[in-house]
Amino acid sequence: GDSGDTGPGTSPVAGRKIDVITKATDSEFWQSMLAGSKKAGADYGIRLGLFGPTSETDIDGQVKLVENSISRGVDAIVLASNSSSALNGVVDRARKRGIKVVTVDNAISTDSEGFIGTDNIKAGEQAGQRMCELLKDKGHPDGKVLHESSVSGQQVLVDRFTGFKKGLAEGCPKAQISQTLVNDNDPNKALGQVGDVLTSKPDVVGIFADNNVSGTGAARAVKEKNAADRVVSIAFDSDPAEVDGVRAGTLSAIVVQNPFFFGYQGVVEAAMAVRGSTPPLNIDPGAVLIDKSLVDKAQFAQLLNPPKTSGAHG
């Protein structure tokens, strides 16, 4: 909702209305992004509206939120789109009405004032390459890898997996994806599925978990079956449970993006656009692979444990 804080009145964009719309509100990742946005909002005295649908598959829900922002008569929208193309229509409508739109996390295929985010295919590639290295270390570059996926049919996840396969194939052409399991974002199911594979498929030596739920499930399963030294497990996102997993060694590495930055920079660029200056068209802060050696390094502290906020406001 509207975070009432009007910061330093000196700011040239003070009092402007910017809505931030995330893919969902109910995970660490989006909470960090919102935290970032709030920081920027406070720094520049912008009137923020923070919204997000209940689930990352709820595209229509996001379309509604954008429409409602149009109704709210905001100056700009920072949008983490649930689809690379399905919001084109509504975004165009918004821009026609002079509303500036900055997209974050997931680029969309129509024009916008700017994009800040990680190319999920690239990030997937990083994960794939790291998977290959670790498999080599374990001595089976030709081993089988399990793909634990949270939802079928979500573009971002498809991209991550595409990238992962590419990255894996570069160094380990013989390595193969043994099967894909879908847990419908149910951590219990994820845990069960990975557990089943670990017990029933001794030849599986790698796990690729494509989001925080899959990652959490994988970490728990590896713990439950204490298979830490048997399998290489790489997951996306930096849920505390996953970070914990890295520390405990139940996750070999996690692919961490910088949602806090997305949120902050998104608002800043939106503000710029509102002022009439043109923000950089595309910023890719890239993704970092965090493993045991890095997890407690100071420079990643803010990344892995961003400033907390309660609910969707500060």
Partner: protein, 344 residues
Amino acid sequence: MTDVTGAPPAGSRRKARPEPDESEILRLGQVFNRGLGGIPVLLILAFALSLSTDVFLTGTNLDNLGRQVSIYAILGIGELLVILTAGIDLSVGSVVGLSGIVAAKAVFDTTGGGSVVWAVVLALAVGALAGLINGVLVAIVRLPPFIVTLGMMGIARGATLLLTGGRTVQPLPDGFSSIAEGSLFGVADLTWLMLIVTVVVAFFLRRTVWGRYLYAVGSSAESARLTGVPVRAVQITAYTLSGLLAALAGVLLASRLGNGVPTAGTGYELQAIAACVIGGASLFGARGTALGALVGALVVGLLDNGGTLLGIDPFWLQILTGVLILAAVAAEHLRNLRGAGGNG
């Protein structure tokens, strides 16, 4: 309500003639006396919103509202047909996804503009087919509707994913996107469609023999059978129409999104059922109206829209929506209790 018998025969007949419509509403009011339920609640909500935020009553917002609600309303009205027969259709959400993808793929693969019509027809056919299968399994094989449609829910979603390999289908020709974007007399086509569907179904339910059969089957399938109602055929129609309307909703959604999204419609079944029940339908059948389902969908849509307009924290909004739905139905319900000796 007992004194009604007191009224002399001539009286009731005389009352009926002059304003047949009035009498009709009266009849409906009596037969499914929670049917027109939501309306007062709806008005109160709208009034409250227009007071609390000046952007609510703006043309753009009402236009948005119409676009947003239309898809759920159409879905809800389809669901209603099944609910009236004391059934339930959990597959509508998946059918939305499936039909959307079918239409999208059809226009995508054959990028001849004219094929849009074909694509839509094909999608509707697929939806109707899914419904037909549900209907047959319920009416002929006599399986519990919940299970049948739960199965279909999985099957349709799986099929959708297979068709797309889990990928979004796009870009789609403007010819297709324009279905949902166009508008007439400043009112979005989506809104028009929603109203048309409501009117047609309402007419079907009130005025046609087959419509009355739906209520009969819902009231007691056995008694209906004994009085010569073709129970099975009626059930099959209900599920088929539900599938058809779900498909329509799916096509509209795909057009609105300009994409064939394989996960589209996930979880819509619950919203559709909710719309019906908020609108006064009973899951035990034979109670409910098309108008009610529309109102139900509007109530939910209004809460959503209002919530964001007022910039309510999404977490709080979720709680609030829950509370308000309860309040709405409760208010409505108590009103009836006072009105009609509690057979609501």
